[in-house]
């Protein structure tokens, strides 16, 4: 299953400054959910300082997760089951003015 991942608002800096990450997730018997995706990202994309991205089994405070341009809260957050070609974005909230 493939899915474009994206980091914005400084969240890309966690991924070596690269904003877009087209990824192909290994196939498994049940559909991938967001909880599993976060674990997969930690293991495969984000080897340095995972505490800047995750806290417990979710993202750390200050990061907003978007699935297909919608707040993941509208989609079931960690339980959301990923579809092929879903667009997942992690944005870091900005505070500067």
């Amino acid at each position: 299953m493939s899915s474009p991942l994206r980091g914005d608002g400084g969240a890309e800096l966690l991924f070596n400054g690269v904003k877009k990450h087209p990824v192909t997730l290994p196939s498994q018997s049940e559909p991938w959910d967001m909880k599993q995706l976060l674990v997969w990202i930690q293991r495969n994309l984000l080897k340095e300082r995972p505490e800047l991205f995750v806290q417990g089994d979710s993202v750390r405070p200050g990061i907003l997760v978007l699935i297909n341009d919608a707040d993941w809260e509208l989609m079931g957050e960690l339980d959301y089951q990923l579809q092929d070609q879903d667009n997942v974005v992690f944005i870091s909230t900005l505070h500067g003015g």
Binding site: G9, P61, D71, L74, T93, H95, G97
Partner: protein, 459 residues
């Protein structure tokens, strides 16, 4: 007879000249009164804003190009004149916002900022000029806005918004715009807006990106619905660390002006449950659907736990400014002053000066003899950089007599990253590199520029 006529004519001319001079004097006085706005150092009760009952001929001419829009029209213009807007922060967002609100004829503008104008503000805080350096930003912004439209009532506040004054202030305004630059202020403004029932037009900008949402508007979510827990302080980047291209907050401040004007005129905003994201690099806006108001929200939910303003600096674990924090990770023995380093340099004592700033900052300025290895490379143990470090340390060791440990002095911009680097290098010493004695140069290049070399650039 003819003589009398001549005399009277001369007298009339004289009187006419006198009248013209008086008129001129009056006009100048009125003009200077409009331009000199009084700076407020604390929150005072304001007289109610009455607004205009009808547009004057001058109003019609001034606002004619927007009166022609059916979306605004005469009623919309009159609504603007009855609206008061509080702008929290007169920086990169607040300047263009205040400018467009004043130009459009909003009735009253509260301009709040605790800070003074600095040279490094001018690339983005476009209401302030070179001659305003050192002046209160609120006053500088108010004077600029009054020159643009003297019919708008401007109230500059030179104060820090706090849990003690925020409610009294925000209650006196119809719409609040968050143009602040730090996390505690964002939570404070949000809570005060929820508690006093005011819509909050909020924007932020950093580097090449901007974000905008209207909170607490028409039953939509508040800032806390989206961000119930503040981010860990070490994950927050401010403009003085991360940088920002001036036009990016410019665009976001203009966007805020648009939403404020739509709410004030009666058209309404469509950003109440939406996040507008601006990516300046790709020149792209994205609209994100947000969660609705959360029943569990601590301030706007069904059973709120925040029913009055709290200590937001404690809640967020950071200060309500965007000034850099000073870390203190090392012991006294692990640090030297810039004066100490100057004498080491002057005595030509063999040592390694390690500059741990990112390359983009080293390009701005650096000390001539320094070796640049960014902190991030040390953290990630980048191979080519470690190799370079090893070579330089062993050269140094070779150069020095006996089996002493080569001294390494670490420097950065302000003396925070250099302390982290000292900790990493101490771990590496004796294993990943030859044994070294590592010390931090307190206060970094900023202290160097202030205390040793006044000609060294500061940024």
């Amino acid at each position: 007879m003819a003589q009398e006529v001549c005399g009277l004519k001369a007298q009339l001319r004289e009187k006419e000249e006198e009248i013209a001079a008086l008129k001129n004097k009056l006009a100048q006085l009125e003009k200077s009164r409009a331009a000199s706005v009084e700076l407020h150092h604390r929150v005072m009760p304001l007289t109610p804003l009455t607004g205009k009952a009808a547009l004057s001929n001058e109003d019609i001419m001034r606002y004619s190009r927007q009166l022609l829009l059916p979306e605004l029209g005469v009623q919309g213009q009159l609504n603007l004149s009855k609206t008061s807007v509080l702008i929290v922060g007169c920086g990169g967002l607040g300047c263009p916002l205040a400018q467009y609100l004043a130009a459009a004829g909003v009735g009253r503008l509260g301009l709040l900022d605790y800070d003074e104008v600095e040279l490094s503000n001018l690339h983005r805080q476009v209401l302030h000029g070179e001659e305003n350096q050192g002046q209160a930003k609120a006053l500088s912004a108010a004077s600029a806005v009054q020159r643009l439209n003297s019919t708008v009532e401007c109230i500059p506040y030179h104060l820090q918004l706090s849990p003690e004054n925020a409610l009294q202030l925000i209650q006196q305004y119809d719409i609040v715009a968050d143009c602040s630059d730090n996390v505690p202020t964002r939570y404070l403004v949000n809570d005060a807006c929820v508690l006093s029932g005011k819509p909050l037009v909020s924007a932020s900008a950093l580097r090449m990106e901007g974000q905008l949402t209207v909170y607490n508007y028409h039953g939509g979510p508040c800032y806390r619905c989206l961000y119930p827990v503040p981010p860990p302080p070490e994950t927050v980047t401010n403009c003085s660390d991360g940088g920002v291209l001036g036009v990016v907050p410019g665009i976001m401040g203009c966007f805020q002006a648009l939403e404020v004007l739509k709410i004030a005129s009666g058209q309404g905003s469509s950003c109440g449950q939406q996040l507008v994201m601006f990516d300046a690099q790709d020149a792209r806006f994205r609209l994100i659907r947000l969660r609705p108001k959360q029943a569990s929200c601590a301030v706007c939910g069904e059973n709120p736990s925040v029913t009055r303003l709290v200590d937001y600096e404690a809640f967020c674990g950071s200060a309500a400014t965007d000034k850099c924090r000073k870390l203190n990770l090392l012991s006294k023995e692990q640090r030297i002053t810039v004066q100490d380093y100057k004498s080491i340099m002057d005595s030509a004592e063999p040592h390694l000066l390690l500059d741990v700033r990112p390359l983009v900052e080293v390009d701005i300025c650096h000390l001539p003899s320094s070796l640049n290895i960014p902190l991030s490379s040390l953290e990630e143990r980048k191979r080519e950089h470690l190799q370079l470090l090893r070579e330089r340390v062993s050269q140094l060791k070779h150069q020095m007599a006996g089996d002493c440990q080569p001294p390494v002095y670490v420097i950065c911009k302000q003396g925070n990253d250099s302390q982290k680097a000292v900790q990493i290098l101490e771990k590496m010493s004796g294993s990943e590199v030859d044994r070294v004695t590592v010390k931090d140069i307190c206060g970094g290049l900023t202290a160097w520029a202030r205390g040793i070399d006044r000609t060294f650039p500061q940024y």
